[in-house]
């Protein structure tokens, strides 16, 4: 059994090393994508990368974040809006307001 103890310990440290190499629990980074040049305009897209690691579970989410535009000597930055998420957030917020209004009305009538 002594041999087991040593080898299992080695295995444990090996797995710990793999975990450390895989990264931290949560990581949020803004990463540039390859440049695209059209005529005198060069654009550099940026993406937001969210990596979550909970035990043996990994979740990676990448979404377009912004575009840097270089034209002659001028550099501008355009944000990429996610209108679908905005609309969803608006609907959920409106629904919560609706719930709250219904609950308030119900309590008011119960008290009356």
């Amino acid at each position: 059994m002594g041999k087991y103890d040593i080898d299992m310990n080695t295995q444990y440290h090996r797995l710990a090393g793999i975990r450390a190499a895989a990264g931290e629990v949560a990581r949020l980074r803004t990463v540039p994508a390859p440049d695209v040049t059209v005529g005198s305009t060069t654009i550099t897209p940026f993406e937001r990368v969210l990596a979550l690691r909970l035990g043996p579970t990994v979740v990676v989410r990448r979404r377009p974040w912004a575009v840097a535009v270089s034209e002659a000597d001028r550099v501008s930055r355009h944000h990429i809006p996610d209108v679908t998420r905005m609309a969803q957030a608006g609907i959920i917020f409106a629904a919560l307001l609706g719930f709250w209004a219904l609950l308030k009305e119900h309590r008011r009538q119960q008290e009356a």
Binding site: A21, T41, P56, R62, E71, T84, A95, H106
Partner: protein
């Protein structure tokens, strides 16, 4: 089942290496090539699509070792069993298993249009997703309203 510890640990090492490789694959599954598409040229316009991509996965595994309980044998019972059988070595046992799963999704977010007028970012609305959210939210409010109405009656 007799266990060869070296063989078992070799298998365990192979499994952990395979798991690390799969973990790395999952990390790189949603790469930038999938977020920003290849530029498409049409006349004076160049279009680059931008999409949200997400992926995830998980693993689980377990293993165990065991030895049969040592029985204290009396001299009489040892004599009854016979020398050959009682001298046979008691083996150790062990086993392990694992499994995993994963998935990924993609959704268009915007189109980057490069034209004679300059660069324009055109957002894309996913009507199905918004519609489903609206239906779910309205259903929730309707159910809640009905519950309140029933209490009142």
């Amino acid at each position: 089942m007799d266990l060869d510890p070296d063989q078992f640990l070799q298998n365990l090492q192979k499994e952990s290496e395979a798991r690390a490789a799969t973990l790395q694959k999952l990390y790189s599954a949603a790469d930038s090539a999938k977020v920003f598409g290849q530029p498409v040229v049409s006349g004076a316009y160049t279009v680059i699509t931008a999409a949200e991509v997400a992926g995830g996965g998980g693993f689980g595994s377990g293993m165990g070792f065991g030895k049969p309980p040592h029985k204290r044998m009396s001299v009489e019972s040892r004599d009854e069993e016979g020398a050959g059988e009682s001298a046979a070595p008691r083996g150790t046992g062990g086993g392990g298993g694992g499994g995993g799963g994963g998935g990924s999704m993609g959704r268009p977010v915007a189109a980057i249009v490069i034209g004679p007028e300059g660069v324009d970012v055109k957002p894309i609305l996913d009507v199905s997703k918004v519609g489903l959210t609206a239906v779910a939210a309205l259903s929730g409010i309707a159910l809640f309203g009905l519950k309140i109405l029933k209490k009142r009656l």
